[in-house]
Subunit: 402 residues, 2 copies
């Protein structure tokens, strides 16, 4: 989930009311055999021609594509196995062309955030006559409503905790390296399949990194100025589940119960979050990721603890509540903001995740220009404490480490 | 929310997976001026002709219909003010005829569960050529999918905590007194407007009674055999909010913040609950209500504490967790199952609600025949403890009181 999505569009401050928009998700299937239900979901959508969009690792190193071939039979009309990291435009072009050529009427994605985003792009572009590039360019100008084509339905089988399948946005990397975000209410996956036997194939380091990002969602939505009870309830519980299940998976990658718990928690960490999102860790993480190519899970680990120390004066009670939820205490035995921050550092350490930017990347980090860019992120509007460029630079300096 | 809705259709036990279906709710508007946004919601639905369905008390004693006239202007093409208790078929007939005659393309309901259910019935029947009776009879036989007509969109402005607006079912009382429940996935309200200034008109006794029912939802879904983390998170928080806000409204009916908190809690108490629902209190409450005409809020008050004492051996930990959530302790200072049950009795007492069947109704109570009927309720399947007819009769005997 990127840091500059449509901002908590929820606060209709002038009108004295708020709008809470529910994601257009229809069903979540979960359990160790959930994958076997995909054919029923295809039928339920009245579709008959499925394009599978997946990444090279899933395609080459797991039996999931084979299993889907068995499950879908002749309804599987094509497999696009090159949905790689960062969603290069060329892959969207190729996958969309395949969808059109095979007459696909539904997309199934299997993979992490990039495979899901590629599938969303295909779902948006395939119903249009033009090339994917032209369709995206038109969408950029006219938005979702003007185009008039309904995206294909999309069933996501996520293999990480990125939670991209629950959001109405996706990001494509242009040939010049620019990352462009697109938004359409109907590209949220219709059905999400949380099958722990599929998730078992994901390496522990990737599980932990995407899980750290889910932790970041929980914490920043809970601290958001736009926080409200529905999302509060979900993210507090999701944080508790991640805190327990992430170390369990790191220790034993075959712990399918812990994988399942993490998957349910990732869902809960973002369900409805477009209404409350924002926060300085997401804003800095987004820009730091863009400038260095760092994984978002890694930007979270190196930035979030410093952001929480900065936010603590404006969020003592809420941080203390999180300390209580995950059961961490300070030296005096109290659930405090500081105890939560230290607990978080301990969690990331146990997961083997980096604690400084220097550990995470060799890229040069231009603190001044990242600081400027962060100040343009709308995500900072919902941060619990007012933020200046100097504050951002100070946080980045601390995060650089040695 | 009735006790014998479609059962937690979630457990696909054979397949080793579960399905969690999200209600097709699109937006919740909340705040003291949320009502003023209804015109924007009508536009967002691309509709132009609104039928207002409301009950006599709202129509005659509040300014809400007047305010909606101002807000909707010429888009308000009709007002049906006779949506009375128990949804008699004749009112559905009359309201549907008005909807057709005025060419309504959207229904706005203002009222409690009966007004919402009447509006759902109109939304289902109005697009069909036949009379409402014939449309309902056909629906009963062929179900939602065969008819092929999409229900009109429905915007609900609830005035109680019944939470009927979030469910895909409604109940109509036939001329012979039989209550028939209908189900259609597309009759869940598209938009729900939780305006505390509208809610202010609801008498405290009705607020408390419907709030008690919301408490019942929270407790029984949390104890359900089909419980799962997403609904657990929502109902635990909702229970906390109801525990605080219901007494506040009982004490000061003009406490709009407490009204709002109750409204948000009612939403959270049932969101997604079709996936976990069931429980002995709902099963007995449904039959006791049918046999005596008692309000469901009152059946909860007289039955739920006894049901929890019965269930305690099978649900000690979960009941103790609820005691912790609402902050009640036993004589030894511990959060226990018994402390929760006593706390619940105290809550209902503070709200001025009945504690025995004898207090709540003069109707004769045939323990044997209600006991038989309860055993046919599918809701008991998810009760945490196995239930026999003798168990049900014993609970009813205790609940009768003096």
């Amino acid at each position: 989930m990127s840091g500059n999505g449509p901002a908590g569009g929820s606060a209709l401050a002038d009108s004295g009311s708020r709008a809470f928009d529910l994601p257009q998700l229809s069903r979540v299937l979960y359990g160790p055999k959930a994958l076997s239900q995909v054919s029923l979901e295809v039928e339920r959508s009245s579709c008959r021609r499925v394009l599978l969009v997946t990444n090279p690792a899933t395609y080459r190193r797991t039996d999931v594509p084979e299993r889907l071939r068995d499950i879908l039979g002749s309804a599987l009309v094509g497999v696009f196995p090159e949905a790689g990291a960062h969603v290069p435009l060329a892959t969207v072009e190729a996958a969309t062309a395949m969808a059109k050529e095979r007459g696909a009427d539904l997309v199934v994605s299997v993979g992490g955030g990039s495979a899901v985003d590629c599938a969303k792009a295909v779902a948006l572009c395939a119903p249009q006559e033009t090339s994917a590039s032209a369709a995206l360019a038109r969408h950029e100008v006219h938005g979702g409503d003007a185009a008039g084509h309904r995206p294909l339905p999309h069933i996501a089988v996520p293999t990480t905790l990125s939670a991209a399948e629950y959001t109405p946005t996706f990001t494509v990397t242009m040939p010049d390296g620019a990352k462009v975000m697109y938004h359409h209410p109907d590209i949220t996956s219709r059905t999400v399949v949380l099958d722990s036997s599929v998730a078992r194939n994901t390496p522990a380091w990737l599980w932990s990194a995407t899980g750290a990002r889910a932790v970041d969602h929980c914490v920043e939505w809970f601290l958001s100025r736009a926080h409200m009870p529905f999302t509060d309830a979900l993210v507090v519980r999701a944080l508790e589940m991640l805190w327990r299940s992430l170390p369990a998976v790191a220790e034993n990658p075959d712990d399918l119960d812990a994988r399942q718990e993490g998957q349910l928690a990732a869902w809960m960490s973002v369900f409805g979050s477009t209404n409350v999102l924002g926060g300085l860790s997401h804003a800095i993480g987004h820009q730091l990721g863009s400038h260095t190519g760092m994984l978002h899970g890694h930007t979270t680990c190196v930035i979030l603890p410093h952001v929480l120390e900065f936010n603590a004066p404006a969020a003592q009670d809420r941080l203390a509540r999180l300390a209580e939820v995950v059961g961490v205490r300070d030296g005096d035995g109290a659930h405090t903001a500081q105890a939560f921050v230290e607990g978080l550092r301990g969690l990331f350490r146990r997961l083997g995740l980096p604690s400084t930017i220097s550990e995470a990347t060799d890229s040069a980090v231009d603190v001044a220009s990242i600081g400027d860019a962060v100040m343009t992120e709308i995500a900072i509007a919902n941060n619990p404490r007012e933020v200046t460029r100097d504050d951002v630079q100070a946080i980045l300096e601390k995060a650089l480490g040695a």
